[in-house]
């Protein structure tokens, strides 16, 4: 209710004010129309008196001000006509308006006439402006003063004695213009800052909000300054910036400092910043501390002792009454300085006072430093970075002024000064600095490292960062070089990079590691030395192993898979053309991934294995050239490594995977002609099969894999081969389900018939296998009959028939047409038997098989002859 009521009241007051303005404006216009200057001035002063209100908030006051502003424009027009017609000299007018009794209307009118006066060029613009800006001191009320001075700034904008302007004065003309704007700025800022310290403490926030609404009034001055043509770099450097900064630093107000620094950075051109970097930066550590409220209010200033000479007892009369006649009499102080102290002396004294404040500010720097300086500095650096990025031509300038060194030391000082600045602030600064360094000095990797080093220093001695914002910033910090250089290799060369990463919590660390990997993937960066690999894995160790026993039970399974897949992809991408180096890489990777623990190994081992196998193949390709003892990269050695690795996997346990990998290795070993190795791998595979593979389905898959691999092996001697094939057939027959048995057994038949030049061609054992398969199929059929009451599928028979046909075609002498004929008939009978269940797929399969036979018969030639004997009824 209360705020509503307050707002209502305010609306009412505003309405009253507006009405007052309109009322008086009406009479003012009437007087203007009848050329009655005196009356017009009277009404205009009355109109402006509405602006004397203290009851409106800045927002509403602005509305009121705008009304008055419009009227003043018209009045100014009238003044201009009046003076140009010669009815009244502008000098007289300038005096006339100063007769107004109230200071606020008087000054508004004075500014208005002043504008006309300057335009008339009857007096130099600089004198008038100086007079106006001085006279405006009469309004010390912050809100009213701000608007008044804003009005002054508004009307004077196009009348500054700038170079090239029609109001240009003598040689020092720009100085005058600048001086005027600066002074107005300083006064406005003082008023603006003062606002904060007036009124009750509980309304502090409200005031802050209101002040924020007013800030552009103050900032506009800086904009005007930047628009002055005559302000060249030298001038900016010598007078403008130091003066502005002095004001910013001395005002000791957080809001103002932050906003004004921002303004400075935004309104002036980049090259100015670049050339004045030192000055600008040196101001930074002197700014107010962020969280600490600037207690150095007027109150604080007031309690300062006076100049020693002035501290003289004062006679006091204190009849402190409110009644009219009991007013207090100001007592005269003993007048000590003889004669009339000149203006200059006065000025000097005041300056001394200001210097006193200055030095105090520096002293206090240690105790209570800065604002939210990081944002300011970041913005500065961002701007400079953009500037650097905008054109390569400006880069030499950056080098010339040693921008990086300056920024770096400034940031160092700021951080040093602000002991309790949260880490996030410092890191934000580092991010900006890093961005800057990357943009401006892409060739200076050491700069990047310096920044990271500074960051490490800042973070050192602290536990892992908990603050999510800070970690986010670190991620940004670490990502920046990756983006810039498109290559992790660069990052790997930065000794501090990993150290910074160490300060991340494990979750973020992983995220960062992912970023790194993704960067590698995206750019297909080739990490080609073992050292780099070592460094890289050190970086992404968060993904490679559990750090510090961090328990991440509630880890998201999918995320984990995603991460590990990334690692796997990373392993694939590691490559070096030199086998020796590649071997080293592999060793390095192995070393790291073996630490990964049971959950990670299934993801990371396979890529390593295949990567190693790739190397083996490559070595094998150049087998002839390489040789000799000293060459470390021999297939043998690699196989040893592989063995170890897979062993680790098998103990995880992940037997199926290990088994597959063993088989892969065996095959590679086969290609390398190292029989014992291949045999060993098979042995391992078999051991796994026997001891670890317990699931029947897994067994089926495994046995088929074994059969397939074994079939392709060609280096084994007869004995070894017999052992292995025998074992395999044995396993096949011991599978749990009959159809599985059957299928495995007929698959085994291939082990005895290698269809190439010098392959084993043992027709008898093939037939044996097939017959055994038939037997098993038969048994399966019977089992089905017994349990379900209907015969089982004939599919098995048809499959066996196909095998028969295969070997028949391949010329196995044991397989004759009559055997096939018999099988066909058997199948036909089976299918037509009473309790056969109709199986469309089996029927189709059989039909197709028969059709194949017919097709072969019709083909003619030797094949047809062979098939002649088979009758397909």
């Amino acid at each position: 209710m209360a705020p509503d009521a307050a707002a209502e009241d305010e609306d009412k007051w505003l309405a009253e004010g507006v009405a007052g303005i309109q009322h008086n404006a009406f009479y003012m216009h009437r007087s203007l129309d009848s050329n009655n200057l005196k009356e017009a001035l009277k009404f205009s002063a009355q109109m402006l008196s509405e602006l004397r209100t203290s009851r409106l908030s800045p927002h509403k006051y602005y509305e009121l001000y705008m009304r008055a502003f419009d009227e003043l424009r018209k009045l100014e027009l009238f003044f201009r006509e009046e003076t140009s017609r010669g009815n009244c000299s502008v000098v007289d007018l300038y005096e006339l308006v100063q007769h107004a009794g109230n200071v606020l209307p008087r000054l508004y009118l004075l500014c208005t006439v002043g504008s006309v006066y300057i335009k008339s060029k009857e007096a130099p613009a600089k004198d008038l402006l100086k007079d106006l800006v001085e006279m405006c001191r009469g309004v010390q009320h912050p809100l009213r003063g701000l608007f008044l001075r804003s009005y002054l700034s508004q009307i004077s904008r196009d009348k500054l004695p700038d170079i090239g302007s029609e109001y240009e004065g003598d040689a020092d003309t720009v100085n005058d213009a600048v001086e005027f704007v600066l002074q107005n700025f300083i006064e406005m800022n003082k008023l603006w800052v003062r606002m904060q310290h007036q009124g009750p403490f509980r309304e502090k926030e409200k005031r802050e909000k209101e002040r924020n609404e007013l800030r552009d009034l103050v900032g506009k001055n800086l904009h005007v300054l930047s628009q002055i043509e005559g302000v060249d770099l030298d001038m900016y450097k010598e007078s403008v910036l130091p003066r502005v900064l002095e004001q910013v630093v001395n005002c000791k107000d957080e809001l103002a400092q932050f906003y004004l620094m921002d303004c400075i950075i935004q309104v002036f051109p980049d090259e100015y910043h670049l050339q004045t970097l030192e000055t600008l930066l040196s101001a930074c550590p002197q700014l107010q501390l962020h969280h600490q409220k600037s207690s150095c209010s007027d109150e604080g200033l007031l309690s300062q002792p006076q100049h020693p000479g002035e501290a003289v007892a004062v006679a006091v009369s204190c009849s402190n009454t409110v009644e009219g006649e009991g007013a207090q009499h100001l007592c005269r102080r003993e007048k000590r300085r003889q004669g009339s102290r000149g203006e200059q002396e006065e000025e000097r004294r005041r300056r001394g006072r200001q210097q006193l404040l200055c030095s105090r500010g520096i002293l206090e720097k240690q105790l209570r430093p800065t604002v939210d300086i990081k944002t300011v500095l970041s913005q500065l650096m961002d701007r400079l970075s953009n500037y650097a990025a905008s054109s390569t031509e400006v880069l030499p300038e950056f080098l010339q002024v040693e921008a990086f060194a300056k920024l770096n030391s400034a940031i160092g000082k700021v951080i040093e000064a602000q002991v309790d600045m949260p880490s996030v602030g410092a890191i934000t600064l580092f991010v900006s600095l890093l961005t800057f360094a990357l943009r401006v000095h892409p060739d200076r990797l050491d700069y990047v490292d310096q920044v990271l080093g500074a960051c490490v220093k800042k973070l050192s001695g602290k536990a892992k960062l908990e603050d999510s914002k800070a970690t986010k910033q670190i991620v940004a910090l670490l990502s920046a070089p990756l983006e810039k250089y498109n290559s992790v290799v660069t990052a790997l060369e930065l000794p501090n990079y990993a150290q910074v990463m160490d300060h991340l919590d494990s979750g973020t660390n992983k995220v960062m590691a992912m970023v790194i990997i993704q960067s590698i993937m995206k750019n297909t960066t080739c990490i080609s030395t073992a050292d780099k690999v070592e460094a890289l894995f050190e970086l992404i160790k968060g993904l490679i192993r559990d750090i510090d026993g961090a328990q991440d039970d509630e880890l998201d399974e999918e995320d984990f898979k995603e991460e590990q897949n990334s690692v796997a992809r990373l392993i694939h991408i590691l490559h070096n053309d030199d086998p020796d180096e590649m071997l080293k890489i592999i060793c390095a990777v192995q070393k790291h991934i073996l630490l990964g623990g049971p959950k990670r190994l299934p993801f990371t081992v396979p890529p390593l294995v295949f990567s190693a196998l790739k190397l083996v193949r490559r070595l094998q390709g150049q087998d002839g050239d390489v040789g000799g003892e000293e060459v470390p990269a021999t297939p043998k050695k690699i196989f040893q490594i592989l063995h170890q690795t897979i062993e680790a996997l098998s103990s995880v346990p992940s037997p199926e995977l290990a088994l597959r990998l063993y088989l892969q290795c065996a095959e590679a070993a086969n290609d390398c002609d190292v029989e014992p190795v291949a045999y060993e791998f098979f042995t391992q595979a078999f051991v796994l099969y026997e001891e670890e593979v317990t699931d029947s389905k897994a067994q089926v898959t495994a046995i088929h894999l074994i059969i397939g691999t074994l079939q392709r092996m060609n280096i084994f001697g007869v004995e070894n081969r017999d052992t292995l094939t025998h074992k395999t057939t044995g396993y096949s027959a011991k599978l749990l389900k009959k159809p599985d048995q059957c299928r495995a057994v007929y698959a085994c038949s291939h082990l005895f018939w290698i269809d190439d030049q010098d392959g084993t061609k043992d027709g008898e054992r093939v037939l044996l296998c097939l017959k055994r398969a038939l037997r098993i199929a038969n048994a399966a059929q019977q089992m089905a009959n017994a349990t379900k009451g209907s015969s089982g599928s004939v599919a098995l028979f048809i499959e066996i028939l196909n095998k028969y046909l295969y070997f028949f075609e391949k010329g196995n002498p044991q397989i004759t047409s009559s055997v096939i004929q018999g099988l066909i008939e058997l199948i036909t009978t089976e299918m037509q038997s009473e309790n056969a269940t109709s199986e469309p797929s089996a029927d189709a399969f059989f039909a197709r098989t028969l059709r194949y036979i017919e097709f072969q018969q019709q083909k003619g030639g030797s094949v047809a002859e062979k098939y002649e004997a088979i009758k397909v009824s």
């Binding site: 007769h99 009794g101 606020l104 003082k190 006076q306 004062v314 100001l330 005269r332 005041r350």
Partner: protein, 301 residues
């Protein structure tokens, strides 16, 4: 009939004219009846030259025992109404006793009249200069005619005109230093100055500069003092902080001031003061009054 009318009406018209009346500067003065009238302005040691025209009403004659013109400088104190103190009195006999039948003009001249005091019309006192023509008659009352004129004396620029500068304050509460550029101002002058705040611990609402006129009349126990605020000129709006200096620029021309008069003929004094007033948020007024001297500067034009 004519006789009857003649008993109540003066038997003649008297007109006093100044020889340079057309060209002479004029000033407005307030007359007894509250109306303002334009009168010529003279200054001390000027010759006051003119003529008196006496025109009897038609068909009448004026019998007299002599015609004279007096130049009187009078001070009139209102609390002592009716009593005029003539500080200057000059007489010129215009005619010997006789009769006037028709319009007759008498030139007169007062040369280098010393008129040390200026005409003044204050709250409790009036100083005025008049020309008084008296036609003395036997048995019947004299015929008298007055003509006001105004005297303004110009002062040269003072050779010594120090600024007024002072530090004042209330201990631990408010310390200010103010400065007015001069201590003596002419009537169209501008007061330039500044107020410098050395210490501010009270919440000041505004500050104004007043011009006050203090007119004291009489002497001894019968002194009457009347103070009048002629101007209230706001210098500052809002509360300054330590270190602020506020400019003063006050044009005196819009205000109806007179020069400072000190002990005019032991009858009265008129003094002017600048009163600097600071008002705090509880409407308490803190002030410091300083006398300034106001003089009339010979206008160069």
């Amino acid at each position: 009939m004519n006789y009857l009318i003649g008993a109540f009406k003066p038997p003649c018209n008297i007109a006093i004219t100044f020889s340079d009346g057309k060209t002479r500067k004029q000033a407005s003065i307030k007359k007894d009846n509250g109306k303002t009238a334009m009168v010529p302005v003279f200054q001390s040691l000027e010759n006051i030259v003119g003529e008196v025209a006496i025109e009897p009403i038609q068909g009448k004659k004026v019998e007299h025992t002599g015609v004279k013109i007096e130049l009187l400088g009078q001070i009139e104190l209102y609390f002592d109404r009716g009593n005029f103190y003539d500080f200057t009195s000059l007489v010129r006999e215009l005619d010997v006793p006789g009769e006037i039948y028709e319009k007759k003009t008498y030139p007169f001249e007062f040369s280098s009249v010393e008129m040390p005091y200026e005409s003044y019309n204050g709250t409790n006192v009036r100083l005025r200069y008049i020309l008084k023509v008296t036609i003395s008659r036997n048995y019947v009352s004299n015929i008298v005619e007055y003509r006001d004129f105004c005297v303004r004396n110009y002062s040269p620029q003072p050779t010594i005109n120090n600024s007024i500068k002072m530090e004042v304050g209330i201990e631990d509460c408010l310390h200010i230093e103010f400065e007015y550029n001069k201590s003596k101002y002419h009537l169209k002058d501008v007061i330039i100055g500044k107020i410098y705040f050395l210490l501010v611990r009270i919440k000041i609402k505004n500050m104004e500069l007043e011009i006050r006129r203090r007119e004291s009349t009489g002497s001894g126990p019968n002194t009457y003092v009347e103070t009048e605020t002629l101007a209230k000129f706001e210098l500052m709006d809002g509360a300054p902080v330590r270190g602020e200096s506020i400019p003063i620029r006050l044009f005196l021309s819009p205000y109806e001031l007179t020069p400072t008069y000190r002990n005019i003929n032991n009858k009265f004094s008129v003094k002017y003061y600048l009163n600097l007033v600071l008002v705090d948020e509880e409407d308490r007024r803190y002030f410091k009054q300083q006398e300034i001297t106001i003089y009339r500067l010979q206008e160069t034009s």
